[in-house]
Symmetry: C2
Subunit: 349 residues, 2 copies
């Protein structure tokens, strides 16, 4: 089969690799229907995180089950499944607590397990899915083709935006600011409205992203950044900051922006992978009672709730995919996202 | 009248000063019935925070109203009142949000206001209380003398321990760790049990404090610190950390201890004034989804709820006062707390 490997900075290659197969009784084999490129895939792409040797990449995909191991009971051959961006067993204490990303037996896509067995990335034609019972969620029946983008969004960005909103304590009547207008930030807008927010201010300087933010329910757009951005937010919110701020970037500047945008007693929910060394200014947090929560989104735990609404058409995150390419153009998909020519690229094998 | 001034490190003096009086229409004049020394008073005492010139000190007291300004409507002459450790107007947006410590017109005890008018500290005989309507809470009738310590605890430590527990998300069935066995930590134990925690592990090495922790509802005591302490907590809690951790110290080490003691997805509620430069390890927080919230406790907002339970005898935080001294021995009160010969000293004028 063909699968995507990263060899180093800006070196993405689609290569022929051995077909994966069910190797353990808890595995499933999934034929990919659609996958995509994540903002976090851009870090090794940009060389921010090192690539020591060529490896599979990708961690967001949906597909159809082609085979299952003897122990698999929750998905069957022919099922359409969504794969969250972390593998989890669904049974350990952390999974039961809803923190599937801390699973005692968890693994990452595009790696090798303890025995040296390849764990496929999602940007390929076939994927061996370890711990299939814990990891995968099947739709009750094969979905309409036009639902695929929304279902694919559930593998990461929609669940991650939702995690930001939950971590920020968004509820009925909340005032919300979303820092970051990437796919996760846009999904954060959607999630905040879904949780009952009255006002959702999206911080964005890009007309195309502003348009999606509005479509997803943003009530206001703020283009300014830094102190000017905070002043603009206070203008919009009766002179104080927001009840909840969603930090969907992960840099030092974006985290400070998020903290500054929260009202005293407000909360920042952060899901931006902390790459640029975000600092948490403890004296400011202490003085203002602004809390900070979030982290690697346990999207598997949110999947049943969100999936039901995607299937009944009330939740529509598919709009984050503004470009669709065949898998053969995966290198262009990375380039388009890196150069911000695309918000998020959907890949079809 | 006599009032306590700090002149510099370890230089606490009871001095004769002019009697305060009602200077503004929103003032009340309160004769102190009891006051106390706060852990945070020890910082200027120890020279950790500088004392540039002699100033009044103290910010926890209860007393009887002797006079009120023309605009005061919520307390009357003769009322027994509790003064929270921050002055607040009760009407601004932050007070309405319950964050009275961020009051737009807030002031601190033992300072001077913008016009140079002295704001008395609590460790004296009389106190001019600015913004009396917002700041003070009166009991429905004069309390029994034996309730005074519990009522005095509401001016800071009980409300602060409660804020730690609320910020840490303590609820019915929670597992809780309390870092810090000072008066605030001990009140945190009481608060956590009151909010429904099943298990409350107090980290303490001192037999006298352990005894109060047990009396306040701690189910377990852990004497170890650092990694050993975390291992001991995990032994007690099914191999994982606690749902909620109350950080009641404020040093780098205590904050790290608190974060390490939380389970993935757990929450740290911190109220220890960040003196020693606590660090928030963002990568660890991100990876484990441990949230951090808290800050300067808005005890005024919690007073009505907690006061009702002190008055009906169901909430009994008075046990944090293990030493009682006359105001004339205020310098010894500081020394006793500094040398850890006392948990918390109650002063009677």
């Amino acid at each position: 089969m063909r699968a995507t490997l990263i060899h180093g900075p800006r070196d993405i290659r689609l290569e022929d690799v051995p077909d994966p197969e069910v190797s353990r009784p808890s595995d499933a084999l999934v034929r990919v229907v659609a996958s995509c490129v994540c903002g976090s895939d851009l870090w090794p792409y940009r060389g921010v995180s090192p690539t020591r040797k060529p490896r599979r990449i990708g961690h967001e995909f949906v597909g159809t089950v082609e085979d299952v191991g003897a122990d698999v009971t929750s998905v069957r051959v022919g099922d359409f499944v969504i794969a969250p961006f972390v593998i989890s067993d669904g049974t350990c204490v952390h999974c039961r607590n809803g923190i599937t990303t801390s699973c005692d037996n968890g693994e990452g896509w595009g790696s090798e397990d303890a025995d040296g067995l390849v764990v496929d990335g999602g940007q390929g034609e076939l994927v061996r899915v370890p711990l299939a019972d814990g990891t995968l969620v099947a739709t009750p029946e094969p979905p309409d083709a036009d639902l695929v983008p929304a279902l694919l969004a559930l593998s990461d960005v929609m669940g991650t935006g939702h995690h930001a909103a939950v971590s920020a304590g968004v509820g009925r009547g909340s005032t919300v600011v979303v820092v970051g207008d990437g796919a996760v930030g846009l999904c954060g807008v959607l999630a905040a409205r879904r949780l009952g927010a009255d006002r959702v201010i999206a911080m964005s300087r890009h007309a195309d992203r502003q348009a999606i933010a509005r479509e997803f329910g943003a009530t206001d757009i703020v283009e300014e950044r830094g102190d000017e951005g905070v002043a603009r937010i206070e203008d919009l919110l009766d002179g104080i900051g927001a009840d909840s701020v969603l930090e969907c970037v992960g840099t030092k500047e974006s985290m400070q922006q998020a903290i500054d945008a929260a009202r005293p007693g407000g909360r920042v929910g952060y899901v931006g992978v902390p790459a640029g060394g975000p600092k948490l200014p403890i004296q400011q947090l202490f003085g203002t009672n602004v809390g900070v929560a979030g982290g690697v989104a346990p999207v598997r735990a949110y999947l049943p709730e969100l999936l039901a609404e995607v299937l009944d058409g009330t939740l529509r995150p598919g709009g984050v995919f503004d470009v669709e390419l065949p898998l053969s153009e995966v290198a262009e998909a990375y380039a388009a996202m890196d150069e911000r020519r695309a918000i998020k690229v959907l890949l079809r094998p």
